[in-house]
Symmetry: C2
Subunit: 151 residues, 2 copies
């Protein structure tokens, strides 16, 4: 099986705290996200922490989707890592809407490019939509590719 994969690291801000603290809702959103990405679910595990917060993972045939929530901060840290023909961006769209997030910071990392100079590569790092609440933020910009062999 091909090792090439795409990994989106996403931080959601301004999310609905009740949703972030609802294990059933979070599980449902993550399973829906896996389906939207075109992934095949193989195992699911979720856990609600006391006094608050949910962690969980959907293991798919094409890698995994994970989430950790901090309801007290309206914040969630999520990973969408899929191989093959899946579209992790579609999973991201499900979470963005389902968590009612006001913004999302996203890193796109290509993985498993074995035999090239680097197996991994950060291709995009952006905030969507532009978050004007961050005083130093100058807009949606894409970072240059990182390549430790050339920096």
């Amino acid at each position: 099986m091909d090792t090439l994969g795409r990994h989106l690291l996403v931080e959601y801000e301004g999310c609905d705290p009740d949703t972030l603290n609802d294990e059933s809702a979070i599980r449902g959103l993550m399973r829906q996200a896996a389906k939207a990405a075109g992934a095949t679910e193989v195992a699911v595990v979720f856990h609600r922490f006391s006094p608050q917060g949910v962690s969980g993972v959907v293991v798919v045939a094409e890698s995994h989707l994970s989430i950790h929530t901090w309801p007290e901060h309206g914040y969630a840290a999520v990973d969408f890592y899929t191989c093959g023909d899946c579209e992790p961006e579609r999973a991201h769209a499900v979470l963005l809407q389902g968590l009612a997030a006001t913004s999302a910071e996203v890193m796109h990392v290509d993985r498993g490019a074995r035999g090239r100079t680097c197996s991994m590569r950060l291709t995009v790092h952006e905030v969507e939509p532009e978050d004007r609440s961050r005083p130093e933020w100058t807009g949606i910009e894409k970072s240059t590719e990182t390549d430790p062999a050339t920096v």
Copy 2:
């Protein structure tokens, strides 16, 4: 609870194929890795694919550790994402040895730095040890920090 976390994305090469295909061995290594990092295990899920390959996640109170293996390529893609006082580097050391990997490419991403310009930051991208088998590789170099607000 503090949202600050450290996420190591690691690609292991030259691993022992039998270990990569042994669900029990992989589960054991990942649970050992979580313990070495100082993390508290809360849930474990692993799955062996047919004809080969293992995927699995250890959900910990401080986030998660995940692995996907391709025995046919001697390759594994692993994530160590921990918050608080954990040391994900110790988990990496367990896998590096346990998989008998000849090299590992590692990205260090800081996460959950809410309120700053960026919530995430790629701080290090390196191969350890230097992999001279890659023709274009010029040595162990560390990438500059990425910051989409300044590139």
